[in-house]
Symmetry: C2
Subunit: 133 residues, 2 copies
Amino acid sequence: MIFRINQSAGVPLYIQLMEQVKHAVELGALREGDQLPTIRKVAEELVINPNTVVRAYRELEHEGVLELKHGSGAFITEPSGKRAPLIAKAQAIVQSAIDRLAALGLTEEELRRIFESQLAQVRAEGRMEKQKG
Amino acid sequence: MIFRINQSAGVPLYIQLMEQVKHAVELGALREGDQLPTIRKVAEELVINPNTVVRAYRELEHEGVLELKHGSGAFITEPSGKRAPLIAKAQAIVQSAIDRLAALGLTEEELRRIFESQLAQVRAEGRMEKQKG
DNA sequence: CAAAGTGTACTATTCAAGTAATACACTACA
DNA sequence: TGTAGTGTATTACTTGAATAGTACACTTTG
């Protein structure tokens, strides 16, 4: 598991970390029992404070995604679920769309704004699932 | 111009407002000379503090997107540019992708994570334009 | 058993976002 | 000319994110 964070995104770092772990689990890249990188190691690699990583891990534990074992490490507890193929399919769709958009010469910022705008549209129309399943 | 904000998104409200104005300009929905809703009106509609709106508008002014005219209002200064058709095309691509994804029964959160993950991918590979043009 | 590596627990501090309330200054318009 | 509606300015406060540093407790491994 390799984390990528964006310091200037406005989104709290611990949220970014949480999202990435969740995504890896949803995709099946992380499975039940897998060990996550150490709090200290993550903090060191990303040059952020260990407390920030602690916060992310602890919230994930609270949500039942992983388990923190005192003295030994953080381990995934949530089974990858049957949705993994669905997520993989969705990922393919997104990838092809982003590829086309990148080829058009769009900026990341422009792309983000378009994405948010369209998402808000779908949300407002109630066409988006609110809970898994 | 109608604003939509998401209080629980983690993204600062003034940033959300800025992004939406920029997007409207990029898309050509807002043109040079168009007046934006009043600071007080926006604050009232969204039930947020006027200072937050002021901040968004002021930063947009600083970026040259709009002009604040004391006593009269906020007006777009930036021409819509030749990129409008490009943005419109991009928007169509995104819309069709999101429609397909929504139909799959994906959650907004799942979709966001997939989007961020793929975007990070493209960014890391340097396949994304960094400046307009 | 000892040491290294892990998570846990504190306290203090800094910074940005957002709220709240008030007063002021300029402009458009009847 | 006045008044309503606009942006401007200021001060104070609350909250959450993130940093910084230190000490402690548990587990694994040699």
